[in-house]
């Protein structure tokens, strides 16, 4: 950073910047107040004051052009946290970006007025603020993308959870009704979730109900058999129930070996078989 620019920035820092704080509230009011109702006036005033204080610290630091300085990092964090807050309140990333741009213009104008330095004649200072704000807009986008990624991960986890509703219906008996289309990726999800539950719950028997499965292909049927085999390898036993006639025909035409697999017509038959294996007898209460 050249000596001249550093001196100019230090000169700006030495001004009574508290005077320009109200001028910086305007962008906040435009983008977060009034119609959008994302922040009230007090919050916008606090936001502007904090921004100004962090900017003053950066301009007053040893090297205001150093992007790795703690002062610049604090400013980046301020915008990242603002972006996160606005998104959580239902705002859009565009609003934060436009706010940041407007804040840049407002800051330059306010400093120009307060210092009497015409920035149009001082390109180095103008260039400095432009590059700083470009970095801050990047921080806003990074925060936005991280937030989106978090939301997507949470949605994926929720989808995984609902796609594999494994229930411990009795001590040591897990049931897994599968509804809809089974494709390879879903089958792998089912396998992962089921094997982890077998290990976690020490399940003796797993009943997989395919009543709601309408289609099955060669790869998926091999995966199904692989699930059964993996469950057996872990020391549990697996029962498949509700195989529709079309699915049964498809399995046979695909040369799938079901000899090591226990099957039952319905989920209720599967549960009876599971109870029988565990030596549990369920009977009607004598009246």
């Amino acid at each position: 950073m050249n000596q001249k620019l550093s001196e100019k920035l230090s000169a700006l820092f030495s001004l009574k910047i508290g005077n320009i704080s109200p001028l910086l509230e305007e962008p906040g009011k435009i983008h977060f107040g009034s119609d959008s109702n994302l922040m009230d006036d007090d919050e916008i005033a606090d936001l502007s004051a904090e921004f100004l204080s962090l900017t003053a610290e950066l301009l007053g630091s040893q090297n205001p052009d150093d992007r790795k300085s703690p002062e610049f990092h604090a400013l980046e964090m301020f915008f990242a946290s603002l972006s996160h807050k606005i998104l959580m309140r239902g705002g859009r990333v565009e609003e934060v970006v436009r706010y940041t741009q407007l804040l840049q213009y407002a800051l330059i104008e306010a400093l120009e007025q307060d210092s009497g330095i015409p920035f149009t004649e001082s390109r180095s200072v103008l260039h400095y603020f432009t590059s700083i704000f470009n970095e801050l807009i990047m921080a806003v986008f990074r925060s936005y993308l991280e937030e989106r990624e978090r939301v997507l991960e949470a949605q994926e986890a929720e989808l995984r959870e609902t796609a594999t509703p494994i229930t411990e219906i009795w001590d040591g008996v897990l049931t897994l009704p599968i509804i809809g289309t089974l494709d390879s990726s879903r089958t792998m999800l089912v396998m992962e979730a089921l094997l982890n539950r077998v290990a976690k719950d020490h399940a003796d028997v797993v009943v997989m109900d395919l009543t709601g499965v309408q289609n099955i292909d060669s790869q998926v049927s091999h995966h199904l058999i692989q699930i059964v085999r993996a469950v057996q390898l872990m020391g549990s036993s697996a029962i498949i129930t509700g195989i529709q006639p079309e699915i049964a025909r498809a399995l046979i035409s695909l040369n799938i070996d079901l000899s090591g697999v226990t099957t039952r017509a319905s989920l209720s038959d599967g549960l009876k078989e599971a109870f029988r294996r565990l030596g549990i007898q369920v009977s009607a209460k004598a009246s």
């Binding site: 399940a203 993996a230 020391g235």
Partner: protein, 118 residues
Amino acid sequence: MIPGMHLTRIGRDAFLLEPARSLNIRDEARLIEHIAEKLQQAKASCLYYDLAELALIDPVYYAWLNALALTMAAINVRMICIHMQPTAAFSLSGFIAGEPAFETALDIPDVHFTGSPV
């Protein structure tokens, strides 16, 4: 003491085999002979092989388990693999064709109790 594993009596006629990280299954023949000798001396009828620490079972390790189980069967000892991890079960189920020579169980049944190392 057999190198790379702990062999513990867990009841009148059952043993627990816990492989250590240092277990060298390339030395298969010598290891199997050692194990078979110990179990025969103790008149064991059941060997529990603990797979809790094994995250993955590859074809080489599977071949070792099968060879051990077949030898155990030859001296009338049942070999039961316990605590197989989901990841290991997943990898194993992907490549085995027929039934393995060993049995599997979630855990050691309550009928056995912890004993002293041999």
